[in-house]
């Protein structure tokens, strides 16, 4: 070994990670993290943290436009259509008469509404647009949650679609608000809540605590997707000099500062002690999500804040920006 063996190794590793990121950038990440952006992001960190931050980034799961479209096809086909066909066949002596099944399914589709959550500028509306395109559905089957009470049609199925569920608390709160309303107007209707990705804990929480009749997600994220969990997949095959504890400590250090700034936006009237506690609990992502995940249209706030933080209060350069600054508590 030469005199600079440690320095050499770090340099080699740095170059290896950068190559990997460049490759991910041009193949999977849809060119969202070029060298300039990467360097700006790395400059958030101290010199000895950079190699670790870079490693963390090589483990980032990016769900691009193509994957999202395929997931939306899966939601419609696997969760909705197939289960309806199963019902049709069961109640018709297991018929395999495809023409009959299609006619019956069309009847069900006509009594189905796909509902975008929140206002039209939010991600759910974007998803709904792709959902309609990919599954070749008529515009008439789509409404917003504001339209439910004015809907004159006889509806049996309401389908809600969301991109991501972390802790599940938001979905439960939403269900408590929207489901009684729907049931008041459509007492017999089934209400479905489908997600592109959900943590196992979050999904279970929704299943147990919400009023939705059906809950499911295309991608299940177990604890191995949590960066610093004992079963984390992030450090399973990492190079020997990559130190998970060190990474956790600097992610927490910066995450805390970033989340203090967000807490101040979210809770302008709360005392500092509350802000501090809240930031501490969420420094590794909302609901201690610890995720390294992002979508083409946005990065969920359950991911590490060092990836997406995009506010003016702290001077921080994000790598996968969070566009929609509505935070979920």
């Amino acid at each position: 070994m030469g005199f600079n063996s440690k320095k050499n190794m770090t340099q080699e590793l740095f170059s290896k990670f950068k190559k990997k990121i460049k490759f991910l950038n041009e193949t999977v990440w849809e060119n969202k993290a070029n060298n300039k952006k990467l360097n700006n992001w790395l400059n958030n960190f101290l010199e000895d943290e950079k190699i670790h931050a870079l490693y963390l980034l090589t483990q980032f799961i990016y769900i691009g436009d193509y994957q999202i479209k395929k997931m939306l096809v899966s939601i419609y086909r696997d969760f909705y259509k197939y289960s309806q066909i199963e019902k049709i066949r069961k109640s018709n002596n297991n018929t395999d008469n495809i023409e009959f099944i299609n006619i019956e399914f069309d009847k069900i589709l006509k009594k189905t509404r796909f509902v975008a959550l929140g206002n039209p500028s939010e991600s759910s509306s974007l998803l709904m647009y792709s959902f309609r395109q990919e599954n070749d559905l008529s515009k008439k089957y789509f409404i917003t949650d504001n339209d439910i009470t004015t809907c004159k049609d006889d509806i049996d199925e309401f389908i809600f679609i969301d991109d991501m569920c972390g802790s599940g608390t938001q979905a439960v709160l939403y269900s408590n608000k929207i489901v009684p309303l729907i049931k008041a107007y459509f007492p017999e209707a089934n209400i479905h809540y489908y997600m592109l990705a959900a943590t196992k804990e979050g999904k279970n929480y929704i299943k147990m605590n919400s009023l939705f009749d059906y809950v499911d997600s295309v991608m299940d994220l177990d604890n191995s997707f949590k960066c610093f969990d004992v079963n984390s997949r992030i450090f399973k095959n990492s190079d020997s000099c990559i130190d998970a504890n060190f990474i956790e400590s600097f992610c927490s250090k910066y995450g805390k500062d970033l989340m203090v700034s967000i807490a101040k936006i979210m809770f302008p009237n709360k005392p500092n002690s509350f802000i501090e506690d809240w930031a501490n609990s969420n420094k590794l992502g909302f609901g201690n999500g610890q995720l390294l995940l992002g979508f083409n249209h946005n990065t969920p706030d359950n991911s590490l804040p060092i990836l997406w933080y995009n506010e003016k209060d702290v001077n921080w350069n994000p790598i996968f920006i969070r566009k929609n600054k509505k935070y979920n508590d």
């Binding site: 030469g2 005199f3 600079n4 320095k7 050499n8 340099q11 190559k19 460049k22 950038n25 041009e26 060119n31 070029n34 060298n35 300039k36």
Partner: protein, 655 residues
């Protein structure tokens, strides 16, 4: 901007694109002069994967003639003097003509009949297109009857009255064979019972051109050129059949066969296994050899390819502008930068010396060898000192001599003496060593001409490097061909691109299965070994990247590995082997592929040749175990690095 170098395989281009991207070899008459499409002598065109065979062969096909000449195609063919019929042998699925309970002989008959039908259809379809788009006058009925007359069988359908009918008929016959082969397992009916061979081997392939030459005025002086590409996809028996056609070739038919360097599985024919003779029955040339031997012309060729690609992406650039775009290593700046830094070579030498000399001597030796004004000369001092150490000289005396020689050279710069000799032979090695010792990537490989040199006569290697250069610059957010800004291509992005290309090359040329891994390990071991030598204290040769082997004494296992490495261009066989100093027998020299050389920090020049004896070859290419190889590397390191395997001893001032 779309990467102009994205596509690097001719098969991924349409005919229109192939024509658009065509670049001729910059010699008199270009590729036409090499391929000689109207020559009656059959030709085998060999070349590595990526050498451009498909592009060249397709260039002479009718579809490309048609694109080139457009509405003047009739005059074009008369001017060209040939009518090209291109076939990609891989499209034939040659492997399906075997097994299934049929004998080799029967498969050979079925295959030759199938090929006969296929090539004839290709020719007829070209002809039909020519008739449809020009005023070529052909008595189709008469020509069709004469072609049908070539068949051995009687009672052929009597409704075949045009070339279109005839082509359709041949296609139906071919489909019958396909059907019979595909359903062999289900019908339990032997293919030989199902398929009737209606025409003798070669009858249509030679006969149709003869009929056309006789019956159609415009074809009187025209050669019918069958271009068979990817010949390596034919099995030995299938090649045997085609070799027989080559031997029995009749005017006005010509053959050009394209194959990878390892693609000719046999030269035998069906005539009692006799081989076709090079020179008298066919000529053979290797594209790689042409590109490698004519390096200046190859450089011009690659430059033109590059310019053409850029032109098609609306980037206008001259060859000198293109070359200037690529930054090269700035050695002077680097040496200057080292002046104020810790001298790693001195530190390493001190550490080694401290184990064998007193501190006071060590200080004097280091003081003698240190030359603060010039790091480069100082590093030469170190090399010279190691050489003296290896000769067991008195180290203090040696260092004093080196000091004087260094001062002398520095003052007068004479073309003689120890320092001059090292500079003459090892300048690049010394600079590269300094880069390495100071934890820098070796930038020597950067620069347009170097990248061409690294491609070793394989254009695709260069194109893929360019593709990666573009990608890296995209990642760096730099538009390297922005006309408004004179942006250069950084050394870093060139080195990164080379590394990506090397990874691609290693994967792309990998032999499948376990053998592939073994062979890969062999070349990696060889590269590791040469790198140890190049960056040792006393490199045995300058510009190491070439080895010399006495191939006659090698066991089959090793010569097979060497053949594979050579055929897949991991090793480049050099034209002139050299004579073994002791045994008076000729050795074969191989240079490490440029991409591998750049990855392993070896030289891309061809100067010093490392002779490998049988034991060394065995330890590298066929070690009994990994431990044996490790021991071999350990002993190599001891031999070429201080203290050169000498026993530990301490020399004091009074020894």
């Amino acid at each position: 901007m779309i990467n102009p170098f994205n596509i690097t395989k001719a098969v991924d281009y349409s005919d229109e694109e192939l024509n658009k991207f065509w670049v001729d070899f910059p010699i008199e008459k270009g590729f036409k002069g090499i391929i000689k499409p109207t020559s009656e002598m059959p030709m085998i065109i060999l070349g590595s994967k990526g050498s451009g065979k498909t592009h060249i062969m397709k260039h002479f096909s009718f579809s490309m003639q048609f694109i080139r000449w457009k509405e003047k195609i009739k005059q074009g063919i008369l001017e060209d003097g040939y009518f090209g019929v291109y076939l990609r042998c891989s499209g034939l699925n040659g492997f399906k003509f075997s097994g299934r309970g049929e004998s080799e002989e029967i498969w050979q008959d079925i295959f030759s009949y199938y090929l006969e039908l296929w090539l004839s259809q290709l020719l007829l379809n070209n002809l039909i297109k020519l008739i449809e788009t020009t005023d070529v006058k052909i008595n189709e009925h008469l020509v069709t009857l004469e072609i049908l007359d070539l068949f051995d069988a009687q009672g052929l359908p009597n409704n075949i009255k045009s070339l279109t009918h005839l082509s359709k008929y041949l296609n139906d016959l071919q489909k019958e064979i396909d059907y019979s082969i595909n359903n062999r397992a289900f019908t339990n009916k032997r293919i030989s019972e199902d398929v009737k061979i209606l025409v003798s081997a070669g009858k249509l392939i030679f006969g149709i051109p003869e009929v056309l030459s006789k019956q159609v005025e415009m074809f009187k002086e025209i050669k019918f050129l069958y271009l068979l590409d990817e010949y390596e996809n034919f099995s030995p028996n299938q090649q045997k059949y085609f070799n027989t056609l080559i031997r029995e070739r009749k005017n006005p038919t010509c053959f050009k066969i394209g194959a990878r360097r390892y693609g000719i599985r046999t030269y035998e024919t069906l005539s009692a296994g006799e081989e076709i003779k090079i020179g008298s029955e066919f000529e053979e040339f290797d594209l790689d050899d042409i590109f490698r031997e004519q390096s200046k012309i190859y450089t011009e060729f690659i430059t033109n390819i590059c310019i053409k690609r850029l032109e098609n992406s609306d980037i206008q650039i001259s060859s000198s502008e293109l070359s200037n775009k690529f930054l090269k290593s700035d050695d002077e700046a680097f040496l200057k930068e080292l002046l104020n830094k810790e001298r790693k070579h001195i530190k390493l030498l001190s550490s080694k010396l401290s184990k064998i000399v007193d501190k006071s001597i060590l200080i004097r030796i280091i003081s003698n060898l240190t030359f603060k004004q010039d790091v480069f000369l100082e590093r030469i001092n170190i090399l010279l000192f190691y050489r003296e150490w290896n000769k067991k000289r008195n180290l203090l005396e040696a260092s004093e001599e080196i000091k004087l020689s260094c001062i002398e050279f520095f003052k007068h710069g004479k073309h003689e003496g120890k320092h001059y000799n090292v500079i003459d032979k090892h300048k690049r090695d010394i600079i590269d060593t300094l880069y390495r010792e100071n934890s820098h990537k070796i930038p020597t490989y950067a620069g347009f001409e170097n990248l061409i040199k690294i491609s070793n006569g394989i254009p695709r290697h260069f194109l893929i490097t360019m593709k990666h250069i573009f990608r890296w610059n995209e990642f760096y957010d730099v538009n390297i061909f922005d006309v408004k800004n004179d942006i250069k291509i950084s050394v870093d992005s060139q080195l990164n691109a080379l590394s990506d290309t090397t990874n691609w090359f290693i994967e792309d040329s990998r032999h499948p299965g376990k053998d592939g891994n073994k062979i890969k390990e062999c070349i990696f071991r060889l590269c590791d070994y040469l790198r140890e030598l190049r960056f040792s204290d006393i490199p045995p040769e300058c510009s190491i990247s070439t080895i010399s082997i006495q191939t006659k004494v090698l066991p089959k296992e090793i010569s097979n590995i060497l053949d594979f490495l050579e055929q897949y261009s991991y090793l480049i066989k050099l034209d002139t082997g050299r004579r073994d100093k002791n045994k008076n027998s000729r050795n074969v020299s191989f240079q490490i592929n440029g991409l591998l050389a750049s990855e392993w920090e070896l030289s891309i020049s061809r100067r010093g040749i490392v002779d490998l004896n049988f034991l060394e070859i065995k330890d590298i290419f066929y070690p009994d175990s990994e431990d044996i190889y490790k021991k071999f590397i350990f002993s190599t390191k001891s031999k070429y690095n201080a203290p050169f395997g000498f026993e530990k001893r301490t020399i004091s001032l009074f020894d």
